[in-house]
Symmetry: C2
Subunit: 367 residues, 2 copies
């Protein structure tokens, strides 16, 4: 089954006419999930081949504007293009589930209510409660109310508050194909990385051999595929090992928000097939990067090596770096510099500097 990551915005800080801010879509067969939604993400979706109405989960890494300010507009536009649900359907079957840090529910509710924006589908905001170590030093200098009060928005369902569990993860959900968790990473504000773990895929049935052994097609096939030893009517015993190929490990995609230190996520992210890591500024601006809570390519590549990632995708580039392929004016630098700096640590070939609207195929592991 295919898994594709599409980068809708690869700039940090603010959008420009030629480059959007943070927004990534992970598409796999029936699932279409968005990670961050900076201003202008809805027009970036329109420029891509992604169907906005297919997006059924949205994950927000942190509440900085370049990851958030497009969310209310995206939902409003989505609402225009979706058939209206009855209120019973709405309450039973939320169309869009949104995961993000504490405060997200209040942000969205305030935006949608003050703009009196009806939402034609149901949405739910599940909030991740940050832990003490994620709070910046100046946390108490600002006084926003983070918890949402008052009534739900007419389109809103009651969300969960998700706390860190004993394994150090925020367990978001599990469905038949994926387990999705979040983990803390350090930034100027509470920030998360998301770990999307595909479940182990059962091996393929050897249809020719089953026929040869006289197994009638039907329910027995799926019992065998699930690993069950079955006895045929003629007494013959079928061992799944003989007719099912090796199970295939699921893929692991790790998408980080902004960070100057993702070390709390080290064990959760271990062995990622793809690591998406920010690389805002070049290596010789490391001090500046740390000051504002960001990473250099070297830092990103080092973390990728630490977790044994198979490939590394860089994004969230400062606007000082022009997109790949842009004509450079004198004195300008391009994102390729950041890619080269990461390759110097991680090795060439397995580093991608993402471009707006680029789709990267997440490979099935070879085994």
């Amino acid at each position: 089954m295919s898994m594709d990551l599409t980068f809708l915005g690869t700039a940090s800080c603010y959008p420009m006419p030629n480059r959007g801010v943070s927004c990534i879509v992970l598409k796999s067969d029936r699932q279409c999930w968005m990670f961050d939604c900076g201003e202008g993400s809805q027009t970036q979706v329109m420029k891509s081949s992604i169907k906005a109405a297919k997006i059924n989960k949205i994950f927000i890494t942190h509440l900085h504007g370049d990851h958030l300010f497009g969310l209310q507009g995206f939902l409003c536009t989505l609402s225009q293009n979706m058939p209206e649900q009855t209120s019973q359907e709405t309450s039973q079957n939320p169309s869009v589930e949104i995961y993000g840090p504490l405060g997200l529910r209040r942000y969205l509710r305030t935006c949608l209510e003050l703009s009196r924006s009806p939402i034609s589908f149901s949405y739910i905001v599940h909030e991740l409660e940050p832990v003490e170590e994620q709070l910046p030093q100046d946390w108490e200098e600002w006084h926003p109310e983070h918890t949402s009060s008052g009534l739900l928005h007419p389109g809103e369902g009651e969300g969960r508050t998700i706390r860190r569990d004993e394994t150090g993860a925020w367990h978001l959900f599990e469905d038949s194909r994926f387990v999705v968790k979040a983990g803390a990473i350090y930034h100027r504000v509470p920030c998360f990385g998301f770990i999307i773990q595909e479940k182990t895929l059962p091996g393929k049935l050897d249809a020719a051999k089953l026929k040869e052994l006289g197994v009638p097609p039907g329910p027995l096939y799926s019992r065998i595929k699930q690993g069950e030893t079955v006895t045929l009517d003629n007494g013959q015993v079928i061992d799944p090992k003989d007719v099912v190929g090796p199970s295939r490990p699921g893929r692991k995609v790790v998408i980080l928000g902004d960070t100057h230190d993702p070390s709390p996520l080290t064990s959760l992210a271990q062995g990622a097939d793809v690591l998406v890591h920010e690389a805002t500024l070049e290596n010789n601006m490391r001090a500046k990067a740390l000051e504002v809570g960001h990473s250099t390519p070297e830092m990103a590549a080092t973390f990728a090596k630490t977790i044994g990632a198979k490939s590394l995708i860089l994004t969230h580039f400062s606007q000082r770096y022009r997109p790949l392929g842009a004509t450079l004016e004198k004195g300008e630098e391009s994102v390729s510099k950041l890619q080269e700096e990461a390759e110097a640590v991680f090795g060439p070939g397995d580093v991608i500097a993402a471009q707006d609207l680029q789709t990267v195929h997440v490979q099935q592991p070879n085994c």
Copy 2:
């Protein structure tokens, strides 16, 4: 002195890659004022010749997303490009004053605080308190808190609450060149139109004649220009009528928010040199337009005639109308249809259907 209106977004509802949502900039010598700030307005500014840092006043007609959702991002980006002020400078000299309906202060404060966005300059939100007749029938079905509570944002100054005065206007401010007021117009939510009245410009001094009469250049010139009769040292009396040309009436620009009925603004808008009026849907969709609180070109043109406007600029077009100059696919219609429908009522030549990034020069009245 020049006065230019630049249309940064001319679409209604939501932005598309080829067309932004509501945002207009009025530029006149030292003043640069923005009217509405839908999502993506900051990138539209970047595409234009307008310098974002020059914008010192922002007017929001109403809190619908297509007029509002770009505001917090615009301020954040502006903040990155402005030198930091000392807190004393900040409190004495607000860099950006924002005017809009009650609820705007809470919207902005919530967005900026939850995203923990510092603003390097000072800003002030002045709220216009709507009157009963502006409230829609479903006003009580929604329960947003409109008044802002809690502490000011670190960059925020204390704003005024502006109420309708006995003339039926919300008096926003007056400076040496302009008087700016707002008036109620009817829409699905409380909505305003803005009336920018340039003050009468004194006539030009006839320098040759002054020299001939022996008036020494200096302070006397400006006293005469202000209309004062002066007596020279030699006893000669100078009557301003003889040396000052006729005073020139100031221009009047009226910019309306969304509306299906701007009649409460009729007397305030009287004699506008330029009327900017929405025309969301074509004439034969009048019922649909009224249902959603919008106007057809005929409605816009009729109002323009009612107030004796000299010219009419249409904007806020449904995305069903492709921009002027776009290649039309079969069955598609363009904004030119809306222009023609307005011309049929208002007369040809004085109707413009605005295009994104178009600048319209506001003419000095001929007299």
